[in-house]
Amino acid sequence: MSRIHQRIAKLLPVLALSTFAVAVEAQVKVINMVPNSRSGETQQDSEPNVAVNPANPQQIAGSAFTPDPFGGPNAPIYVSTDTGDTWALNSILPGNSAVT
């Protein structure tokens, strides 16, 4: 095998690995954070925020201007424990309204 062919042969695994890494990075999963049981809700859910637990990326918390689905005084946070595949609303944040 010529020197050029040898160099190409050495580079091929690197090129293959790079291509695979790029392909993996290009995969983006789009998830609707609104839980299944809340499908059809018509709230604005505006100003969302998302935070991932750096120690356990499977745990994700989100927030938005979403009212308590049970009609209570607390505001919910969005919680996922499976890397965002499924979500639940947990109404634990004290909230209030400035308008009577």
């Binding site: 299944n36 809340r38 009212p67 009609g71």
Partner: protein, 266 residues
Amino acid sequence: MNRTVPLPVLLSTLLGLCLCAASSQAAGSPEELTRAAQFVFRGTIQKVEASNLDAVPADSSTAVVRVDEVLKAAPSLGDFTGREITVKLAQPGAATPGEQAVFFTKGWLAGTTLAVVEVGRLHGEAALLRGQVAAAVRQDADEELRGRLARAALVVAGKVVETHPAAVVGEVGEGSEHDPQWWEAVVQVDTTFKGKPAGQRVTFLYPTSQDVVWFEAPKPRVGSDGIWLLYHDQLPEHDIPGYTALKPWNLLPRGQSDRVRGLIGQ
């Protein structure tokens, strides 16, 4: 030394324990439990020591319950009739598959389904319990409306005959995404429930903005008709001139006239 417990004492103790067991499931009347609960339903226990929500591990305090009939729920919750939810029992182990009851619960999680926390459970004739819960819900709604009517400066019924931009300058979100974008609506009054309108027509401010702060406010158009609860102080920290209608309940259907009249005390 041998000691024996007198039978009356033993029976009283056992009876007390039994009552305690019953009362821990239903610590209150249907009215009290309805007020303490956010989600009240007639249901049938499907499985005990079970959960149908991944976020709630199954243990002796959880049960899967089918919702047979919803008796009290926030309108935004949707209809869960016929669906199975997870209930965290007030008393672990106090549930039997097939058991039918009215469950008084507080909201906990809304995921693929609901998880709720039991505050009470009542067994009895379905129609009777349904009526008692409905009466409590109505009473609470009346108390809430009575408070709003008491705080209103003017309560009138009429039809909107004109709307136009309002020349209101204030600090209520002005210049930001929360700018209410005030408009005025003019109502041709045909009935006055409370207050003394200056004339046959009343003008009030409303926000046309669909921003998260304002999107639920009434958006009257020419022809909009109903009972208007108008306030001077819905935003007490801001000096807004005139009357305002900023919440969905500032407009009630005409059909509520008798109810409004009764609650105001006319």
